[in-house]
């Protein structure tokens, strides 16, 4: 029996006044379980960021729908910090989420806001920087770090809050391939080794393929929800909403269509390699 961490019930959200008629989310029902590693896909403007902001009470539904985080209604203003402590957020632009001019002071920001004892803050900061492999930079100035390093500092800032869940909104979108690699391997480690619940919003299909579950959004609604294999097997449907599948999936699907005996639901390079060498040998 899995425990639900985040539950969205009939969530709709509108930016601005009613008459603007711009509904960013439309009656979303969704459950995310503790320990899950979930990817959210969708083209620009499909409502991914808006949904993510509902997970930590930065936004609340504008209809009667509700979001429960660990059983707490995000509309409950008294308990909003309990919600935000449980669900940490990392954003796309590393420059716009770092507050302090020294790495360790930035990581300490959340526990300071929560009124944690100084000795305990010290311990958490050291531990968090260790977990993202940035310990040796703790006295550095953040603006001199690379994009990948800045994002890892931002992740450490969330870890120091001891969140159960980390939501990352396109954390690799502004990074070079090396930075992406650093950040993704950090995220995978948190999900797989530390058992954190991770929600990764991304537009890189290869990143989504690493997760346990993929949710596809389109026009403020959930279009698909399933394992990466299930979701990526619906190539046509994804294409119709402007998304692609991982390159290896595309390749194997094309090979399969051209009559080769290759399974079309391949999502990782290793699987692809195995499948192709099996066919070549056999």
């Amino acid at each position: 029996m899995q425990e639900t961490l985040i539950r969205c019930e009939n969530v709709s959200f509108q930016y601005g006044e009613e008459r603007d008629n711009l509904t960013a989310l439309k009656n979303i029902d969704l459950e995310i379980n503790r320990g899950e590693f979930v990817a959210i896909l969708g083209h620009n403007g499909s409502g991914k960021s808006t949904l993510a902001k509902h997970f930590n009470a930065v936004l609340t539904p504008t209809n009667e729908g509700r979001v429960l985080v660990g059983g707490i209604d995000t509309k409950d203003e008294e308990r909003v910090f309990e919600v935000r402590r449980q669900v940490g957020m990392v954003f796309q632009n590393p420059d716009n989420q770092i507050v302090a001019t020294v790495v360790e002071e930035d990581v300490a920001f959340a526990p300071e806001n929560l009124g944690v004892e100084p000795s305990e803050i010290r311990r958490r900061v050291d531990e968090a920087l260790e977990a993202v492999g940035m310990s040796e930079y703790k006295k550095h100035a953040p603006h001199k770090l690379s994009g990948g390093q800045k994002q890892r500092v931002a992740i450490a800032g969330v870890l120091a809050m001891q969140s159960d869940c980390i939501v990352l909104d396109e954390p690799t979108a502004m990074l070079d391939p090396q930075g992406r690699e650093q950040v993704i391997s950090t995220i995978v480690k948190l999900a797989r080794e530390q058992g954190k619940t991770v929600v990764l919003i991304t537009h890189f299909m290869e990143e989504a393929a690493l997760c346990d579950r993929v949710i596809v959004m389109n026009d403020g609604q959930i279009l698909l929800d399933g394992t990466p294999k299930e979701v990526f097997s619906k190539r046509a449907e994804l294409k119709s909403v402007g998304l692609s599948v991982p390159a290896v999936t595309e390749l194997c699907a094309i090979l399969n269509e051209s009559g080769l005996d290759i399974s079309p639901d391949i999502i990782s390079e290793e699987e692809c390699l195995k499948e192709v060498s099996r066919v070549l040998k056999g």
């Binding site: 935000r84 940490g88 957020m89 954003f91 507050v99 020294v102 920001f109 010290r122 006295k139 603006h143």
Partner: protein, 267 residues
């Protein structure tokens, strides 16, 4: 642009870095008073010696000092020329057309240059040896009596932290926009004043828009990290004063007294 030094910390492990930031702010104010009291070669020399010794104790390389001073060179040159040419002194050394170069003018110019250089160098030491958070914690603590008058001390301190944090980001962005506009043929270097100001508009507008976007994203990020206001906030590093701070305070008071006394006797 790797050489933005204003408002940025130079991390090092030194006695000056470890001083209580509240004391450092007070010392900086004492230094400014001391510098403006100084009116003679001797007292200016005391100030200069103080700055040099402080930099040495703070383990800040001379290179940094040079970098700090580079942006003020134009101001210094201007002040120098202005003082030399327009100071109305008695002892005329040289007569050039309508200008007289006088001994007093030269003296005043040299003092002016020393003052500018020393004030920039001395006050920069505060930000070099103190992180922005320490600095704002200290300001908050020093101004805390004003909280009783409902003065938003914490908010002011937070604003300062963020301003310091974003200086390098915004400078970098300005340069990016400038290169982009230059690549499209914008010309910032020629033309009269009005033409140049006009050429700046295409830089200021995108910069302004991006700054607003950054501010809104930063606000969301801060909220997400449970920031509400100063109430109930703790600190990674609690401000603590110790023996060293008291010792430094005594040295500073002594120096200030010395300069004041020397100036009273016109030395």
């Amino acid at each position: 642009m790797g050489d933005i030094t204003i408002g940025q910390m130079y991390p090092a492990s030194s006695a000056v870095h470890r001083l209580d930031p509240r004391f450092k702010i007070v010392f900086t104010i004492m230094f400014v008073v001391m510098l403006f009291t100084a009116g003679s070669a001797l007292t200016v020399a005391v100030n200069a010696a103080f700055v040099l010794i402080a930099y040495t104790l703070a383990k800040i390389p001379l290179k940094m000092l040079v970098k700090t001073l580079r942006p003020v060179i134009p101001i210094v040159v201007f002040m120098l020329i202005f003082n030399v040419l327009f100071y109305s002194g008695e002892t005329v050394l040289l007569k050039l057309w309508i200008f007289k170069i006088t001994l007093e003018g030269l003296k005043s110019a040299v003092f002016m240059v020393f003052r500018i250089v020393l004030i920039v160098a001395g006050t920069s030491l505060l930000t070099y040896t103190t992180s922005s958070i320490e600095l704002t914690d200290a300001i908050e603590s020093l101004l805390s009596p004003l909280k009783k008058l409902k003065f938003p001390v914490h908010e002011l301190a937070m604003m300062m932290t963020i301003a310091l944090r974003f200086i390098p980001t915004l400078i970098e962005e300005t340069q990016k926009i400038m290169s982009a506009q230059k690549a499209r043929g914008a010309d910032f270097e020629s033309g009269n004043l009005i033409a140049r100001v006009k050429a700046l508009l295409p830089i200021l507008i995108p910069l302004f828009i991006s700054a607003i976007k950054r501010a809104s994203e930063l606000a969301t990020a801060m909220e997400s990290r449970c920031y509400h206001n100063g109430i109930g906030r703790t600190r990674l590093k609690t401000l603590k004063s110790g023996k060293n701070d008291i010792a430094a305070l005594m040295v500073m008071t002594g120096l200030l007294a010395l300069v004041v006394v020397l100036s009273m006797f016109n030395l």
